[in-house]
């Protein structure tokens, strides 16, 4: 099996998509938030790779076709954003100050908890980019001197958490305005949270997509300052 996996051009993508379809089916069947298709597909794919003894590098060789589409897909987020342009213009203050509060909250929370939980500087700066999109977070982690691979994992987990629990968190804080919801999803949980926001509604999705870019830029500017605090 491991040999065939190395030769095959399609198996890695097929396994990923079958796992995702299985996740979607489970979610439809049981209507449970925790049964997130992305989370299920990741866990099932890992389980499958471990079972047939295929290492990550081999899998990645075939599956990176999926990752290849990420840049054009992120570029396409400009489309819903443009469709909601009037709404965005009318709410520019809420957008800027909402996202800025989120970014500062992210950095302060990470700083306070890192000190309280006894992390060292390198571990602290590894976590600083955790709320922003992988593409920006990787670069930032490297620049600050963190463990890049852990940053990437934590960013992915953050996104999945938002994807699964985002709606419950919005309910907890009584966030009901579609614009505010979208901003919350995108600022806290980047593109993976945005994928969920897109399913909730057009406005939520557009605002979430916008937040990825804006929160990313704010974080890139502010994180190096926070890195000097501890």
């Amino acid at each position: 099996m491991a040999e065939f996996f190395k030769e095959s051009a399609y198996i890695a993508v097929a396994v990923s998509l079958i796992a995702y379809s299985f996740g979607s089916w489970l979610k439809r069947k049981f209507k449970l938030g925790l049964l997130n298709p992305l989370l299920i597909s990741i866990l099932c794919t890992i389980a499958f790779l471990l079972a047939v003894k295929v290492d990550y590098e081999t899998y990645k060789g075939g599956a990176q076709v999926l990752t290849w589409f990420l840049t054009p897909a992120t570029v396409s987020l400009a489309i819903p954003l443009y469709e909601e342009w009037e709404l965005l213009k009318a709410n520019v203050k809420a957008v800027v100050f909402g996202i800025l509060s989120g970014v500062i909250t992210s950095l302060v929370t990470i700083l306070v908890l890192s000190v309280l939980l006894g992390l060292n500087h390198k571990q602290y700066v590894t976590l600083l980019p955790k709320s922003i999109t992988v593409a920006m977070g990787m670069g930032l982690s490297e620049e600050l001197g963190g463990y890049v691979i852990i940053t990437v994992s934590v960013i992915a987990i953050t996104g999945v958490l938002g994807n699964v629990f985002g709606e419950a968190i919005c309910k907890l804080f009584r966030i009901k305005e579609p614009i505010a919801k979208g901003l919350a999803f995108g600022t806290a949980t980047h593109a993976i949270g945005t994928a969920r926001a897109m399913e909730i509604g057009e406005v939520e999705g557009a605002m979430s997509g916008l937040s990825i870019a804006v929160a990313g830029v704010f974080t890139v500017i502010l994180a190096p300052i926070f890195a000097t605090f501890f």
Binding site: S41, V75, S76, A78, L127, T133, L183, A195, M198
Partner: protein, 120 residues
């Protein structure tokens, strides 16, 4: 042909984004440059919505599956993560809650205050 043309436009913008990333010394990824470029092109009508809409919406729809490979990467970084697993887990969970809460509450407060001013 419709999908091919639309995808080509999105791809070319991604390419321009990549070129900008190579030239400019900022930690901004190609995708974010591309998103800004496409947005400006749409607003200025250089590109019409119909020229990218269908292919773009399709890409957005299948976006979650594009994160599967990086998620599966967890099986490799597990070793480095294990010793600091509990603090990292606590920070990850708490931050998601505080950041969503702060962003949502602040923006909702501004939206509702503006609405009231408009009505009152």
């Amino acid at each position: 042909m419709k999908f091919l043309k639309q995808f080509l436009i999105i791809l070319l913008i991604s390419l321009i984004g990549e070129a900008l990333k190579a030239v400019l010394p900022l930690p901004v990824p190609a995708s974010i440059y591309g998103m800004v470029i496409l947005f400006i092109c749409l607003v200025t009508k250089v590109i019409k919505l119909d020229q990218v809409r269908d292919a773009g919406k399709f890409l957005i729809e299948i976006m979650p599956v594009m994160f599967i490979p990086s998620g599966v990467g967890l099986m490799v970084s597990w070793g480095d993560l294990q010793p600091i697993l509990i603090p990292v887990a606590v920070i990850t969970v708490v931050t998601v809650i505080t950041v969503m809460g702060a962003t949502g509450v602040v923006s909702q407060w501004i939206i509702r205050r503006d609405k009231e001013r408009l009505n009152g």
